[in-house]
Point group: C2
Chain length 156, copies 2
Amino acid sequence: MAAVRDGGPLELALAAAAAACATRGAKLTELRRDVLRLVLEAGQPVGAYALLDRLKAARAGAAPPTVYRALDFLLEQGLIHKVERLNAFIACTDHAHDHAGHAHPHQFLICGRCGATAEIADAAVSAALAAAARAQGFRAARATVEIEGTCAACAA
Amino acid sequence: MAAVRDGGPLELALAAAAAACATRGAKLTELRRDVLRLVLEAGQPVGAYALLDRLKAARAGAAPPTVYRALDFLLEQGLIHKVERLNAFIACTDHAHDHAGHAHPHQFLICGRCGATAEIADAAVSAALAAAARAQGFRAARATVEIEGTCAACAA
DNA sequence: GGCGTTCCGGTTACCATATAACGCCAGTGG
DNA sequence: CCACTGGCGTTATATGGTAACCGGAACGCC
């Protein structure tokens, strides 16, 4: 069908994700695509069990491992991120560079009022983190950075 | 008894914690002190249920709410922190300033090999986080920063 | 002293998050 | 054909976290 040609941004994102997976020999199966679609549709951090509930509409037999395995795959592929403070998942919105299926440096701004969560990739933050680690003789591999506060819309 | 006078660093820390609570009208009860002692003894991030198991040695009737209420109190008093990535708790080691019972800016360096977790308070990191938030019109209230990698000892 | 209020914590029940372990089946390559 | 692998269904269980209710101790006040 013409899903890609006619699709909105969601279908375009799914097609791009499938292509990105293909270039590195990974397969975005139907299940994984379904879960990714649900995460994209949410637009906000969404819990694994919330995803599971929605997934059950399409797949009656879905169980926790169903969704967690798909989430693990999407995390590995860098298509989604986990928000640790919320035990929730959100689609990666960093389209600036192809992060080759691995975690790229990023930070979250989490609004405590409306729940909106924005992903940023601030070079100064990354540099400061690397410097702080190095000062302790620590070899940093990755960093979880989640800033809580009030978003611009809610502050107004 | 002479616990404070004769005590090692652990008892000294407990006494200091009790004093800090007292100055702001909070009471470090026996239960809270027991939980704090367990967290201090661990020296590493420790899960709530691990604490619960150990707590049961002294308090047969201990249940999840027992330990979570104590942990909530200790968090409010700034005596411990939560490590979000590990769903675990660790004693605050920042003795530089009296953070008046409220959360103070801090970051964690988590060694993936040995599990050692160090607390730092890097001003440059805090400044970079504040600047990044401000650039998005976001009012930052607090930040979770957890750097994973390899500690100096394990790298050697 | 009597009384109300607040804080603390015991107790039960429950919900939420995450993983282990087993096994089937389709696809792939010898 | 056979062996192997990846993907996933299925069941059970581990781990993390709260809600709600209750009783008793401590404190302040008249």
